[in-house]
C-alpha cells in the first residue's frame, strides 16, 4: 500500500543499501576490528572541546522558553546575525541576518531549496559523480536531476558536458566541493568555466539559474584553498552543515545563506520560509542553533583525516591502484580493477575490505573509500589491498 513512486525507488536502491547492511553483518561475524570498513561517512574525529562546554553553558544560562521554545521558522536572530558576521569576516561578503536561514542540516536545506524552486518536471543539474541522495531530494517534489559527468581522469567538471546538461527548465545547479564521493576540490579554473557558462545561459534563457553550493566538507580541505563560490557567481546560495566541521552529524544543524543581491532575494526567502513549514521542519533544533553562538567558526582537528588520507593514497598508489589525489572531505575515489565496480566490491569483501561501488554515485568503474576510520585501520588494510591487487594482476 505504499506509494508507487516510492516502491519503485526502494526496489532500485536495494543493492546500494545492501552494501551498508553487509558491513554490519560482517562486523558481527568477524568482529568489527577484523574488517576494513570503508563504507561509512560517520566522522571519527571528536568534536572540539568547546562544543560540549557550550551545550552545558547554554543549558545553564539561556531561559528555557528562549532555549527550547519555538524560534522563528528561519531560526534565532542572534545566531543568524553571528553567522552573517563570521561569513563577512571570512569572505568579505555582504551577508545580513535576514539572508542566513538556520536549517536542520544541509540535506534539509537542499530539499527546502528544491521545494522552493521546482515545479513538477523542472530540472536541477549536478556534477557526477555525486552524493546519491541528491536524486531523491529532487524527486521528492517531482523534479528531475540531470547529471553532468565530470572528466573522469581529473574528477573536475567538464564544461562541454555541463553546458549540454542545461536547459530552459534548469532552475538550479547543485555543486559539491570538496566532493562526496570523490574527495576532489573543484579548482578555481573549473569554477570560472562553470560560472561563465551559467552567466551566458541566464542571459540566453532570460531567467536566473541559481548555483546551490553544498559545502559540508569545506572545513575538511588539506593544504588547498577551496574557492568561495559567491565570489564568482552572484546567484549563489551557500548550504552549510556542521556535521563534518564539528563532527555533529546526528544533531542536524546547518544553514543556507545568500547575499541581498541574489535575484528575487525576498521571494526566495519567503519561499524557503514556507518550505521549512510545509515540509514539516518548523525550525532547526533550537539548542543546536544556540551553541553556534560560540562554535560557528570552530572546526575539528583535520590533521587526523589528513594522516589517514596520506597512508591510503601513498599505500594504494604504491601497490599500483589508480587514485585521484583527494584534496578534501574524507573520501578517496579509486579505479576498480574491473569494469563492474559492484563485482569488484564483492571480490574485495573476500579480503574483508568494504567499499562503496562508484555506480551508486554515478561514477561507474570506480569505488569510494571513506577514510574517516582510525589511521591504524588504514595502515592495517594495505596488505589486504595488496592481496586484492594480486588477485587481478596474477590472473
Amino acid at each position: 500500500m505504499i506509494a508507487k513512486r516510492l516502491r519503485k525507488s526502494l526496489d532500485e536502491a536495494i543493492s546500494i543499501r545492501d552494501i551498508f547492511e553487509e558491513g554490519k553483518k560482517m562486523a558481527d561475524i568477524y568482529g568489527a576490528e577484523n574488517i576494513f570498513n570503508f563504507t561509512i561517512g560517520n566522522p571519527s574525529v571528536a568534536p572540539p572541546a568547546i562544543v560540549n562546554e557550550t551545550f552545558h553553558e547554554m543549558l545553564d544560562t539561556v531561559p528555557a522558553k528562549e532555549l527550547h521554545g519555538y524560534p522563528a521558522n528561519v531560526g534565532h536572530p542572534d545566531v543568524r546575525s553571528h553567522i552573517a558576521d563570521v561569513l563577512n569576516k571570512e569572505y568579505g561578503g555582504k551577508y545580513t541576518t535576514e539572508g542566513v536561514v538556520m536549517t536542520t542540516g544541509a540535506a534539509a536545506a537542499i530539499v527546502e531549496i528544491c521545494h522552493t524552486l521546482l515545479d513538477m518536471d523542472d530540472e536541477a543539474v549536478t556534477f557526477a559523480p555525486y552524493f546519491w541522495e541528491y536524486k531523491s531530494y529532487v524527486g521528492t517534489v517531482y523534479g528531475k536531476l540531470v547529471p553532468a559527468q565530470c572528466n573522469m581522469e581529473t574528477l573536475q567538471p567538464d564544461p562541454e558536458t555541463f553546458e549540454a546538461a542545461l536547459s530552459e527548465r534548469t532552475r538550479f545547479v547543485l555543486i559539491n566541493t570538496p566532493n562526496n564521493p570523490t574527495g576532489a576540490v573543484y579548482t578555481e579554473d573549473s569554477i570560472i568555466k562553470v560560472t561563465d557558462i551559467l552567466k551566458r545561459k541566464e542571459k540566453e534563457y532570460g531567467h536566473p539559474i541559481y548555483l546551490v553550493s553544498d559545502e559540508p566538507y569545506r572545513a575538511l580541505a588539506y593544504d588547498i584553498e577551496v574557492p568561495w563560490i559567491p565570489d564568482y557567481y552572484r546567484n549563489t546560495i551557500v548550504v552549510y552543515s556542521y556535521s563534518k566541521a564539528l563532527s555533529l552529524p546526528g544533531e542536524r544543524i546547518g544553514w543556507l545563506a545568500m547575499q541581498p543581491d541574489v535575484e528575487d532575494y525576498k521571494d526566495l526567502l519567503a519561499g524557503i520560509t514556507a518550505s521549512i513549514r510545509y515540509l514539516g521542519y518548523v525550525n532547526a533544533p533550537s539548542l543546536q542553533q544556540k551553541i553556534m553562538l560560540k562554535c560557528a567558526g570552530e572546526k575539528v582537528d583535520i590533521s587526523i583525516y589528513k594522516k589517514t588520507r596520506d597512508i591510503l593514497y601513498d599505500g594504494l598508489t604504491k601497490i599500483g591502484y589508480t587514485c585521484i589525489h583527494p584534496d578534501g572531505a574524507f573520501y578517496l575515489f579509486m579505479k576498480a580493477l574491473e569494469d563492474d565496480d559492484f563485482r569488484f566490491c564483492q571480490v574485495a569483501k573476500e579480503e574483508k575490505i568494504l567499499m562503496a561501488p562508484g555506480t551508486a554515485f554515478y561514477g561507474p568503474g570506480w569505488v569510494r573509500i571513506s577514510y574517516c576510520v582510525p589511521s591504524e585501520v588504514a595502515e592495517a588494510s594495505l596488505p589486504a589491498f595488496e592481496w586484492l591487487y594480486k588477485k587481478y594482476t596474477d590472473k
Copy 2:
C-alpha cells in the same frame, strides 16, 4: 522565480500570516504587557526539571560519537526500545523497538507518512476544524486533503460527513485529539463511530485505510480520559511530539509508532525509513532523542493551563459568549459575534485582543483563543472581552 505551486499557496496564506505579524507589531507599539495576545501556540509552562538535568547528564556520560554521530535513520535503538516499553506499560500494547521511529517532531512524522502513502492526487481525510498546516503537508507530495466538517455544535466528528469524505483514493485519515484549534477531546463514542465506518470502508475498497493519530496534546487533557486510538482500530499509526508534553517545541523531537499487526507493517517501515532520507531529515536530532531515555514518560505541570482555561471559559461564557468547553490542549474555540470571523478579529484588536480567525482552521464563524499565556493575562483580558461583547450587543 519560485515554484508556481508555492507562489499560489503563499499568496493564499498571506492573510493568516498577517495575524501573527500583527501581534508582534502591536507588542512593539503598546508594549507586550498591554495587549492580550491569544494567537500564539508557544507553551508558557516550563519544562520539568528532569529535562535540563538529563541534557547535562547525557552530555557528561555518553561518548561523543554515540551522542552526536549518525544514529540509524529511524533513531537510537535504546531510545526506541524504551519508548516501546513506556507505551506497552501505559496502554498494554504490543510495540517493539522496530515499530517505534524517532522523528523530528510530529510535523515531520506526518510529512513522512504523506510521502510514504500518497501518490499524486491520492487523498487524506481530516476532521475540520483542523491545524492549517495539514493541507500543506499533504500538498507537498501533490496529495489532496479532504476535510470532513465536525458537528459545529459539539466539535465532535460527524459520521455522515466523514463517510461522504472517504473515497477509493483515501490512503489515510488524520485525526487530532485533543484538537488544535478547538481544544475538543473526541469522545469514545466518536472514535467508535469513525472506526466502524473505516472498517466497513476498508472491506468495501479492499485496501487498508490507515488512521494517523496526531497526538501532541495527549498529555494536556483536563479531568478526562483521551481514548487510545489503537484500541479501536488495528491500522493506526500514532504520531507523538514532546513539544507540548515537555514544553520543547523548538527542539523538534517526537516519534511515530505502529504495532506489528498493522497491515503492510514491514513495507510501511521501509517506506518511512526511505522518506526520512528523501525528505532530508536523515534522523531526529540525536541529543534530543537520548534525553528521552529518562524523560519519555514525564510531562509539564498542566494545572497551570487548566487554571487559565477555567478563568477564560467561565469568564467568557458569563459575559455571554458561546464557547465549547475545551477538555484538552491549550485552545478554546469561541463563536464570533458576527459571521465574518476575520472582521470580528479586526474589531477585537481595537480592544487589544488578538485571536486567530476560525476560517484559517476551516472553522468559519469561530475564533481560536490560544490560552498558553500567564493566567493573569487571561484574567486581565476579561474586561476587554466584555467591552467587545457590548460593542456588538449594544448596536
